[in-house]
């Protein structure tokens, strides 16, 4: 992102650094480590700002993936295998979406954020457990005493609602 200059980065920092820190705390880091790692994540955001293409995705998603990857490699000391489009095994799909679809994707995070707030609280809880606590649906069921079928139904309903808002296909 060529236009991420100092001033705009300071705004981005002001918005995302507290959120990244809150995310890291939810993942179980203590306050001082969360401070340190959130600074590292924001440094990466600044360092790699040229790689961010606002035509292809949202800033929030990009920051999220950087925080996620940092958590996996620095804290959990694991690899995160990723597919790569230049792999000879790669099977191409609709990677070149229509301009309409691309425009829809750009606004997708904002749409999802609004839709998330309108979900019933128990559906929000399921998503938060999956994203922030690293629980599988059956672990969430064990932890909360909510039957597995109910957890799955809540997740399915949440995803269906969210997909409906962003115009994706609804079948799972």
């Amino acid at each position: 992102m060529a236009d991420m200059d100092r001033t705009s980065f300071e705004q981005i920092f002001g918005h995302f650094a507290p959120r990244v820190r809150a995310y890291l705390l939810r993942q179980g880091l203590n306050a001082s480590l969360a401070d340190e790692v959130s600074q590292e994540v924001m440094l990466t955001v600044w360092n790699q700002s040229e790689r961010f293409d606002p035509e292809k995705g949202s800033l929030g998603t990009w920051v999220f993936t950087i925080a996620r990857n940092r958590l996996i490699d620095s804290i959990r000391r694991q690899r995160r295998p990723e597919p790569s489009p230049d792999d000879p095994c790669w099977v191409a799909g609709r990677e070149d979406p229509s301009p309409e679809l691309q425009a829809a994707r750009r606004g997708r995070v904002a749409t999802l954020r609004t839709a998330l707030m309108r979900l019933p609280e128990e559906q929000q809880r399921v998503l938060e457990a999956l994203y922030f606590e690293g629980l599988t649906m059956s672990e969430l069921s064990d932890k909360t005493g909510v039957p597995l079928g109910t957890v799955k139904t809540r997740a399915r309903l949440a995803l269906r609602t969210l997909r409906g808002h962003v115009g994706g296909n609804e079948d799972e």
Binding site: F13, G14, A17, P18, R19, V20, R21, A22, L25, D35, S38, Q39, M42, L43, W46, N47, G57, S58, G60, T61, W62, V63, F64, T65, R68, N69, L71, I72, Q78, R79, R80, P81, P83, S84, D87, P88, C89, W90, V91, R94, E95, R105, R108, V109, L112, R113, L116, L127, E128, L130, Y131, F132, E133, G134, T136, A155, L159, L162, R163, G168
Partner: protein
């Protein structure tokens, strides 16, 4: 090439996007994604959902107000993340980081089976890339823990459900299930096999299972 028809579970794709899945599940999912545009679309949506959840974080008190690094400094370009890794024809790239041999080479296991050893195991059980000769049958066995088998090349039939698995298809075996598998067609079949626990053979052919599962 046709897109896969047997996919990871939705919560496995969410966990992959959320970064909460164990490494072995991420490895299988990343290999599946190489072949599966549909699941890549889903993972992209689930990453946007992660972005939306991050943006909705409200317990933001006590956060560092300012960068502790100098944003005025022109920072060095980050080192390229693409390290040159040995590639093997027909083996998806996410596996390259785990090859045991350099250069990677197929090793003999038992007649009809070769494998590419990986530096990766789950609870002491090695993950394997196995090449089965045409017509090979994996005798009936019971899974004591979740097993994921991803077909990389060739064709395999489940002896119990009679489902067909081709390139990119994921066969998940839940704990406590019993099945056999058969290689179909004239070509060898190459699979990534990762299991979270042992299998118990239902017959004297346990030697073959031992070779397949490494336990």
């Amino acid at each position: 090439m046709n897109a896969p028809t047997h996919h990871p579970e939705p919560d496995e794709l969410i966990a992959y996007a959320a970064g909460t899945s164990p490494e072995w599940v991420s490895l299988v999912v990343a290999c599946h994604l190489t072949y599966c545009p549909e699941c890549r679309d889903n993972v992209s949506l689930f990453e946007d959902l992660g972005g939306a959840l991050l943006d909705s974080m409200d317990d933001t008190a006590g956060a560092p107000p300012r960068p502790n690094f100098d944003v005025a400094r022109v920072l060095a370009a980050p080192a390229s993340e693409t390290q040159p890794v040995a590639a093997v024809a027909g083996i998806p790239r996410p596996l390259s980081a785990y090859f045991q041999d350099s250069p990677p080479r197929w090793r003999f296991l038992i007649p009809g089976l070769r494998h590419l050893p990986l530096n990766f195991s789950v609870g002491g059980i090695p993950a394997r890339i196995i090449r089965f000769k045409p017509g090979f049958t994996i005798p009936e066995h019971r899974h004591e823990a979740l097993e994921m088998l991803l077909v990389l090349d060739g064709e395999l039939e489940d002896g119990v459900t009679h489902e067909l698995f081709r390139s990119g298809d994921l066969s998940r075996r839940e704990p406590g299930t019993t099945h056999s598998q058969h290689i179909l067609g004239p070509e060898p079949c190459t699979c990534l096999v990762v299991s979270a626990g042992p299998v118990t053979p239902s017959s004297w052919l346990g030697r073959i299972l031992k070779a397949v599962t490494g336990v």
